[in-house]
Amino acid sequence: MTGFARLFALFGVIALFLYGCSAVPVEEPDTAAGEPEEIIEAPQEPLAGEEFDVEDGEADTMGIEEPLGFRGDPLDDPDSLLAKRVVYFDFDSAVVKDDFSVIVEAHAGYLTDHPGARVTLEGHGDERGTREYNLGLGERRAQAIQQFLLLLGASNQQIQTVSYGEERPASLNHDEEGWQLNRRVEFVYER
């Protein structure tokens, strides 16, 4: 370690120490808040302290006893792109728009990392045009997403497509505002 890095580490430890001390009183779990869905084991021992040779020998450091990121299945993380499960399309189009490719990429990543995961892509359309035609169009949309996912490494067995055409609208409005919400593909994971 260079001198600078050593200095930086020292600052870090001091900062952690200060934070640890002030954090302790609020660390008490709030048992009245109901059962959490998943109990995350907190480390029993302080994260840091004894190995560090600081001048103040009396000092004691502690961790915040909380992971920095989300723990559990990424599908359950509300902050993850995976929480976005709907991709919208232009009128009479099955082309995945650039705005939504980042969502599809996130799902492709998840499927690649979780070979056991299974998703059904449900294609939908707005009410304009005939119902059978919209069934076909909804299927094309679902297949467009499917192709995208496969290209990015998901496997065929993980993905099913189905079309509901205009039969399960997300919005009941008979105008562009409603229609744009209805031209969509929904990711429905088997959980």
Binding site: R128, R131, E132, L135, S163, E167
Partner: protein, 434 residues
């Protein structure tokens, strides 16, 4: 798959009484409609008359066709009840060209109905008939008499004694949608629900003999086709497959169904033999397209279907035995859901232009293309079995309603549900007698 399996348990078949009645409104009448007087039928007994007023059924039928202009009863100078009482001069004064008179006589549980049609210009009886029917057949008899009058005066077969099928979609008190497949007389009366489901029902198709309805249902989630006996309510799934199946169309001989099936990621037209349930693929879609909405030509030789292969949907024709497809429509960028007139000369369809989705008709021999409707979201066209009108679904004041237009576009009518809900996916049934 969310609530589908729970919903599936909720499916039940009913043969219940009328729940939603269609009210018919004539939106556009033909000029030069034939003035006709229909005199209230006399009740030839001292008892309380039956409630079915045959003359009213006949008057409404003839008026609705757009080809007749019934003279208001309040203008009548006399109310003859049989031919010998008709004074032709009186009726000529009113401008009538024809007059219908009749009477009903109860004989035990049976009713004897006599009617006579007169040409008052020549002052001759055109025809006269006597029928005996049960009380619950009186309304149907009224439609049959309308058919006879229509035939006698226009030369074409009437289609009043036929049925229509359609779907009523409504929101239940529990906030969940409800879909009812209903069958009604051609005038919207006598509506009965033959299927009630929490999931959508689309693409109704009558068997050529009018005894069965094929339809596509989402009750299992992915769409699949059922065939239901209209009288008994019994039904069966056309093919047990995980593939999505929809868009059924009967062959004219009733032995096969053309359907849309999505198999291996490709959506194509398949033929299903009803005796063996063997399936045969008829079309081969391009990788980026799909084929849908098959319909059989009345001679059974061809299948017309919608193909999205060219990027924009157009109607194509293929031999029912297979082979190369021929494109039929070139007007505009969107022509879907073909439907043949009974004589095979006209092809009805949904045609989109900048103003919306309309019903249009293509004369196959001449190539003449005519847009019949001017409303914005029209779909599901089907011809009356005599070819006189095309029934279709449209939206009116934010509500799904049924409408009909004459094939020449001169006559229009609208069917509105008396109760809440959207009427959609109509299909006009065939003649019920040969």
């Amino acid at each position: 798959m969310r609530k589908i399996w729970f919903y599936a348990l909720g499916i039940f078949l009913t043969m219940g009484q009328a729940q939603a009645v269609l009210k018919i409104e004539i939106t556009k009448g033909a000029e030069g409609a034939l003035p006709i007087a229909i005199v209230p039928f006399a009740w030839k007994a001292s008892s309380v008359p039956v409630t079915q007023k045959l003359d009213e059924v006949i008057t409404a039928d003839l008026h609705r066709s757009g080809l007749f202009d019934p003279i208001p009863k309040t203008d009548f100078l006399s109310w003859p009840t049989e031919g010998s009482e008709v004074r032709c001069k009186d009726w000529r004064l009113l401008g009538a060209e024809n007059i219908v008179v009749g009477n009903v006589r109860p004989i035990g549980e049976i009713f004897e109905v006599r009617y006579e049609l007169f040409d008052v210009l020549r002052c001759v009886q055109v025809e006269g008939q006597k029928f005996r029917v049960q009380g619950n057949q009186l309304r149907r008899l009224g439609h049959q008499i309308s058919d006879r009058i229509y035939k006698a005066l226009t030369g074409e077969r009437g289609a009043f004694a036929t049925r229509i099928a359609y779907v009523v979609a409504s929101m239940g008190d529990d906030g969940k949608p409800r879909y009812m497949l209903q069958v009604a007389d051609s005038d919207g009366f006598n509506a009965r629900t033959i299927l009630s489901s929490p999931e959508s029902i689309i693409s109704l198709a009558w068997s050529p003999d009018g005894t069965r309805l094929a339809y596509a249902s989402f009750e299992h989630g992915p769409v699949t086709v059922y065939i239901q006996d209209v009288t008994t309510g019994e039904r069966e799934r056309l093919i047990n497959t995980k593939d999505q199946v929809s868009g059924p169309a009967w062959s004219p001989d009733g032995t096969r169904l053309a359907v849309v099936m999505s198999r291996g990621g490709k959506r194509d037209i398949y033929l299903v033999d009803l005796a063996t349930r063997a399936t045969k693929r008829l079309t081969r879609t391009s990788a980026s397209g799909f084929n849908t909405e098959p319909v059989w030509s009345p001679d059974g030789d061809y299948i017309v279907y919608t193909s999205h292969s060219g990027g924009r949907p157009q109607l194509y024709r293929v031999n029912a035995t297979g082979g190369r497809a021929k494109r039929l429509t070139f007007e505009g960028k969107y022509n879907t859901r073909g439907t043949f007139s009974p004589d095979g000369k006209l092809l009805g369809m949904v045609h989109a232009d900048g103003a919306g989705y309309h019903i249009a008709v293509l004369e196959l021999e001449t190539g003449t293309f005519r847009v019949l409707s001017r409303t914005r979201l029209d779909e599901s066209p089907s011809f009356a079995p005599n070819g006189s009108m095309i029934l279709y679904a449209t939206r009116d004041r934010n509500r799904g309603v049924l409408a009909a237009a004459s094939a020449d576009g001169r006559v229009g009518q609208r069917f509105e549900l008396q109760e809440r809900g959207d009427a959609r996916e109509p299909a006009w049934g065939p003649f019920l007698t040969p």
